[in-house]
Symmetry: none
Subunit: 183 residues, 4 copies
DNA sequence: AATGAATGAGTCTTCATTCAT
DNA sequence: TATGAATGAAGACTCATTCAT
């Protein structure tokens, strides 16, 4: 896993071949296949690991955030969506690109993100039904697409933005706009 | 060009091979290489054609929209960003996926979209500097990422949304939020 | 086809690999795949070609053998079963061995041989129902297995037998015994 | 040995890999290689064991069959040739197929069978030189090929025949025909 | 003596690209 | 100018065999 990350980090998705991964990781191609049945499984495992981690963090925070204000909640939502991309951004970028071949995986990731958004949105709506609108498929889908879309674009073209406080404020404002009830 | 579109439309990313394209176009692979030096050049030409068209349309509208209100302007901005994806969505989806391998192309597309957004945003700021904020790199980048990101996600997972009035309203509201001056 | 035969003739079934076949045949691996979709298809085509040829010869002879005696008929049956193995016996031997991996092909060949035997046996039974017994599945199967089994064994261990008049007489006697009515 | 048989029985030729065999046998691949220098050696040992068993049985019977009639002798010859295929026919079939790659082994088996046939034939010729002809290389080779060929074909395509009394009668008749002196 | 992780040569197959006709 | 047969580098994956522990 770590080795694959390094391969993606160094060579990008162009050299994301089984032989390269193995060689760069310092073991043989045969060994790689002791641990992963397919090339796809390598990518899948990286994706699943990242999602598991993110999922744990998000649910963990939600569980112990009873006193949090809506503002804090939203800030954390953005924080949690950004977080996987803050470190190792080259790896994330390559994963993103490699993902495009595997529609199942890309769907998997999308579904996970959608679910994260849904959780947050529902939580806000519960907190203050007057201030926040009820989450719908359309709302969540649009928000998820916009939030992750912007993050993705930053990852690829302006990775430095991801750490930028102003950028994060823009995202927070956008999310706030999305979840706020229309008058 | 048309043949390539048909190949992408029918077989998707999978059969996007030079031989397939040539055969579908009714000429030989050799002839294909008289007109395009690379496979990549085919994709690039499709992308450029689409961007040229979109560019012409956007500049055309901007040029003759002197009397338009800000609301109309924003609605048109969303309309113009959506438009290339409304027809032949399978082709667009496949192009999107094929694009991911060609970072130059993806950068080209992104730059074009960024420029479109910048044009619109500048126009709005000119119209009513109090109501709309001044476009900055950060602003435009974030908006472009969010808008196109949501559209891309819809294209892939909910193509029907693209035609949905409520979805379009969400986008318009989002863009409005983005361009509006913070108090 | 001819090239494949040569590969089998020279290297035996050990080097029956796509790369070897192509290289030995003097063209590239890519060219090989222009003509055959699978490795298996190469073998299949060789087998089918051989069976087609044998089938044509057998049916041809049967069609114009109205005046023939039973003895002549039997001699010809043996002749026709032997004939594919008389020339290029190394190729035949390698084909036989390569065949073992492809149970479909081996079944195909067996079925064809069974059918040849059935045709002959039926013809004899028609000619002289008293002297010859009626062909049954069991009879034909046993005869086919014995006749081809002996030929195969000779091909592998005593190819010179195949041309030997005494050997052929043994086969003729065996076949005669099989088709003759039990008293 | 037993494990190998089980692997062949369950998975057939396809999973006949050293790792599979070792795992099924309950020890490690390394241990397997302590006992067998090659994969081929495993197959060879299975073959040799089967031949030893058959050899013992045949010589045993011959040694204590002084009072037997020619008919009994022939029947037993057929019985003894059939016997290894009556149980575990899937194993035998797989062995047969795996054997095809190892010309040495296949030659070994053939030689053994030839020798069995020679023994029997010689015994008959001794018993009644007028009724039975003298065994020659040609005779024995042809008979061995025919007998085993038919059995092999049955094993692969009609395993039920192997137990069928009529089928066995056919074989007995065939053998009788072969050994009987030509008038 | 037993283990099993590691090895890597070798297999089939794809597809962008070239070039003689 | 058009053709399409030919090319071959490169990729995913298998499995007999080795060797440090």
């Amino acid at each position: 896993m770590e080795a694959t990350a390094q391969v993606l980090e160094r060579s990008g998705d162009a050299d994301f071949t089984t032989n390269h991964i193995a060689r760069r990781a310092g073991f043989s191609i045969g060994t790689l296949y002791r641990y992963f049945p397919h090339k796809k499984a390598i990518l899948k495992e990286m994706v699943e690991a990242a999602l598991r981690k993110q999922d744990a963090r998000i649910r963990g925070w939600l569980a112990q955030s009873d006193g949090a204000t809506a503002e804090e909640l939203i800030e954390h939502m953005v924080q949690h969506m950004l977080e996987p991309f803050l470190s190792r951004s080259r790896v994330r970028k390559s994963m993103l690109m490699s993902l495009m071949h595997e529609s199942e995986l890309i769907a998997r990731v999308n579904a996970a993100h959608l679910e994260f958004i849904r959780l947050f949105h529902a939580r806000l709506a519960e907190m203050d039904p007057l201030r926040f609108r009820k989450p719908t498929d359309l709302t969540c889908h649009t928000l998820a697409g916009a939030l992750l879309g912007s993050i993705r674009t930053s990852l690829i073209f302006n990775p430095s933005y991801l750490q930028d406080a102003d950028y994060q404020k823009e995202l927070v404002a956008m999310v706030t706009h999305f979840v706020t009830a229309r008058r």
